[in-house]
């Protein structure tokens, strides 16, 4: 009874505080939530999702035709898997390839200077014929070079880039190829990533929630609006000729985002295919996750603000879609983060007492957005029973996305802007990072 009264008291206090908030105060301190976040994540996302899903149903005949065309042509597809010390995942990968509904595939695995027994495992699979081409670099050269080596010897009409530790749904290859036949001039198709190890730890559970919102739903929306700009390296398909023309991947980290930008610059469509599902393993500890996200966030500065700075310049190659895609990415990922910190600090200095009202209020708003997005993703995700079980974690989403992710991202942006941290990341060998820095790659 005591605890119940505390809860009741809390709610009474909370509502009293909310009543104190008028529109003016809300706009003064949180205009970016009301004017940017809510329109962006609720209105635009909701409408685009409805648009995308309904178009699918209306044009289902065309999708069927596209599938028919794929099966009539039945082109060879190269599944390209570059990796460093990934030997232990190869048997699962091979098994997942054998289960594919689309079987005209060539599996190319590139071992980028592994120091474990990857070479032996890979070679034995090559001997058995489970891996069509197993390539090995004696010296580690970085993920881009490994992918490029595989590309050099690939023969398929399409290249499906895959991480060694991800496993595909049985119809994933077929599904990721159909958009190439559904629309003309498609330069890349990104697959849908679903977290596979969501029950490993709270870290992975939160990532599961994040992925269904920002990847499954978020990318449908971006793709429909023509703003989709990162075909994830974990699962993406490209026409081989286009990759050959570009000379493949450039040095990462974030090489998947970089190549997507290059494809967009050439004027090709980049699409997301939510039905092509890839189950992916995500970092299980906060430390590992932080490391991964810092790497991803640095690439925003490195590629969007440095290497591809020309997208912002209105010259003869200027494209509004690319500009908006970049703007959306940089604004919601970069500018808003700094603005968020700026306003929080400002409140802290000007009216610290106000935070007691402001934080619960903001939390309520973002929780509302999270619940809305969660409901949206219900229409996209196939495994609904799993999703239902996860709904108890929704209250943590605003904290995870709003505080943890913001903090990690902001630290990474600052590190990259002022200290060029991505060039020091051991993810790439020093010899390539040195050259990348020298030439601004």
């Amino acid at each position: 009874m005591v605890s119940l009264s505390i809860i009741v008291d809390f709610w009474e206090d909370y509502f009293r505080m909310l009543q104190r908030l008028d529109w003016e105060t809300m706009m003064r301190w949180g205009w970016f939530i009301l004017l940017l976040d809510i329109p962006r994540y609720v209105i635009v996302e909701g409408l685009a999702l409805i648009w995308s899903r309904s178009r699918r149903i209306i044009t289902r005949k065309k999708w069927k035709q596209a599938r028919q065309m794929l099966w009539t042509e039945y082109p060879l597809v190269t599944v390209l898997v570059p990796g460093h010390n990934e030997g232990r995942h190869l048997s699962k990968l091979v098994a997942s390839m054998k289960k594919q509904t689309y079987q005209h595939i060539e599996l190319v695995v590139v071992d980028d200077g592994s120091t474990d027994n990857t070479a032996i495992i890979g070679q034995s699979f090559e001997k058995k014929g489970d891996i069509d081409i197993f390539l090995r670099c004696g010296e580690r050269g970085g993920k881009a070079s490994a992918a490029n080596l595989g590309l050099r010897y690939a023969k398929g009409k399409f290249i499906v880039h895959l991480d060694a530790d991800s496993s595909l749904a049985p119809d994933a290859l077929e599904k990721i190829l159909i958009p190439f036949y559904r629309y003309p001039h498609v330069g890349a198709v990104g697959g849908n990533l679903v977290v596979h190890n969501e029950s490993d730890s709270l870290t992975t559970t939160m990532q599961y929630m994040e992925y269904i919102q920002s990847i499954s739903v978020g990318r449908i929306v971006l793709s429909k609006l023509g703003l989709y700009k990162i075909v994830s390296g974990a699962f993406g398909a490209f026409p081989r000729k286009l990759l050959d023309r570009m000379g493949g991947w450039d040095i990462g980290p974030g090489l998947d985002g970089d190549i997507t930008v290059k494809i967009r610059k050439l004027g090709y469509k980049v699409l997301f295919e939510e039905n092509a599902v890839c189950l992916t393993h995500v970092p299980t500890t906060w430390k590992a996750l932080t490391k991964q996200r810092r790497r991803w966030s640095r690439s925003l500065v490195r590629f969007r603000l440095r290497k591809h700075i020309d997208v912002w310049v209105p010259d003869k190659h200027f494209s509004w879609l690319n500009f908006v895609a970049f703007f959306e990415n940089v604004f919601f990922g970069f500018v808003l983060d700094f603005m968020w910190i700026f306003y929080t600090l400002k409140i802290l200095i000007v009216a610290p007492g106000f935070l007691l009202v402001w934080f619960p209020f903001k939390y309520t708003l973002y929780l509302g957005i999270a619940i809305f997005q969660y409901i949206c993703s219900f229409f996209v995700i196939n495994d609904r029973s799993k999703m239902l079980k996860m709904c108890i974690y929704i209250p943590l989403v605003p904290l995870y996305m709003g505080y943890y992710m913001r903090l990690v991202r902001t630290v990474a942006y600052i590190g990259e802007m002022f200290f060029y941290e991505s060039y020091k990341d051991v993810w790439n060998p020093a010899k390539t990072s040195k050259k990348a820095k020298e030439f601004g790659m």
Partner: protein
């Protein structure tokens, strides 16, 4: 036989028979007319044939006879020089007169002591061992294998192999003779070498091919892979070659310093067979026998050890003295 007039010269009180006429007709001279024989014929085939017939002779006085080669023949013997030396007592110039005199005396004493009343051995194998013991005992020599590309496996025991007429017989029989003698304790062996031989014909003359894992053809082209650091392009060296320079096909920059601009992380094979054109990194090795043409995997090759042998005390008793005891008992 008597048609040939033996040409005997005297030196330091020893009679030396010059063999040229006998070699020409391949006739064994009477062992009694000289203490020592000298080979002075230039035709290496004939000399070899003659020396082999000496080795195979049943007459102890013939096969133990000190035989030297004239130094001037060295150039005529060519590749056979080492075999000739093994089948004889070597070049005259390499031996000093005292050595020769000692050998002559030793042989004469040996024949005196063991020559009489010796019975023929029951089997050819025993008989050959008997000759070997006699010879190696008088010469204080070991039975050392010799590298020789005219032999089946690449190794030969020239004196033993002389008893057989084709290479394959020679290889198999000499192995058996030596192995059994060693097992019975008559010979002591020490390790000399290991050989990998054809599984079907025991030949040691093998050709090792890197083959295409898909079509088994061995017409391959190997190319180094080059990784250009700056743009992450990786491809075979042929992609980069442009007017005797290395130029990156992706970013058109010239590659200058290995280790700084680029490195070579591996190599790549291309099968040149028109119907295959397979590209791969790990080329399996296939072995093709030059003699019989059998193709085989390296693990299928027959692994044999080659030993050098020496006479054991037991063997010397058995082959050189035991017989005396037997004859004494009979006497």
């Amino acid at each position: 036989m008597s048609e040939i007039t033996p040409h005997v010269v005297e030196m330091y009180g020893r009679r030396i028979l010059l063999l040229s006429n006998f070699i020409e007709d391949c006739i064994l001279p009477d062992p009694l007319i000289a203490d020592m024989w000298l080979v002075n014929h230039q035709d290496r085939t004939k000399v070899r044939k003659f020396l082999r017939s000496v080795v195979c002779s049943h007459d102890m006085r013939v096969y133990l006879k000190p035989i030297y080669l004239e130094d001037s023949l060295r150039s005529f013997f060519m590749d056979d020089e080492r075999v000739m030396q093994r089948l004889s007592d070597g070049f005259l110039g390499n031996a000093d007169p005292l050595q020769i005199a000692t050998l002559i005396d030793q042989v004469a004493y040996f024949i005196e002591k063991h020559g009489r009343g010796r019975k023929k051995k029951a089997s050819q194998q025993e008989q050959i061992l008997q000759y070997i013991f006699d010879y190696n005992y008088t010469r204080r020599r070991k039975i050392v294998p010799m590298r020789l590309h005219q032999s089946l496996t690449g190794y030969t025991y020239p004196r033993i192999d002389s008893f057989f007429f084709n290479m394959s017989d020679a290889y198999l029989n000499s192995r058996i003779i030596l192995k059994e003698a060693e097992e019975q304790g008559y010979l002591k062996r020490t390790y000399f070498d290991t050989q990998h031989l054809c599984k079907s014909c025991n030949s040691g003359f093998l050709n090792y091919h890197e083959v295409c894992p898909r079509c088994n053809e061995h017409n391959l082209k190997a190319s180094n892979l080059i990784h250009h650091f700056r743009c992450a392009y990786v491809g075979p060296e042929t992609d980069f070659v442009f007017h005797n320079k290395l130029v990156c096909p992706k970013c058109s920059v010239q590659l200058k310093n290995v280790g700084v601009d680029y490195d070579k992380p591996g190599k790549m094979f291309t099968c040149k067979s028109q119907s295959c054109n397979h590209q791969f990194q790990e080329a399996p090795i296939q072995v093709c026998c030059v003699d019989c043409g059998t193709k085989q995997e390296p693990y299928e090759l027959v692994v044999k050890k080659v030993y050098q042998y020496e006479l054991s005390e037991k063997g010397i008793q058995r082959f050189l003295f035991n017989e005396d005891q037997v004859s004494l008992q009979h006497g």
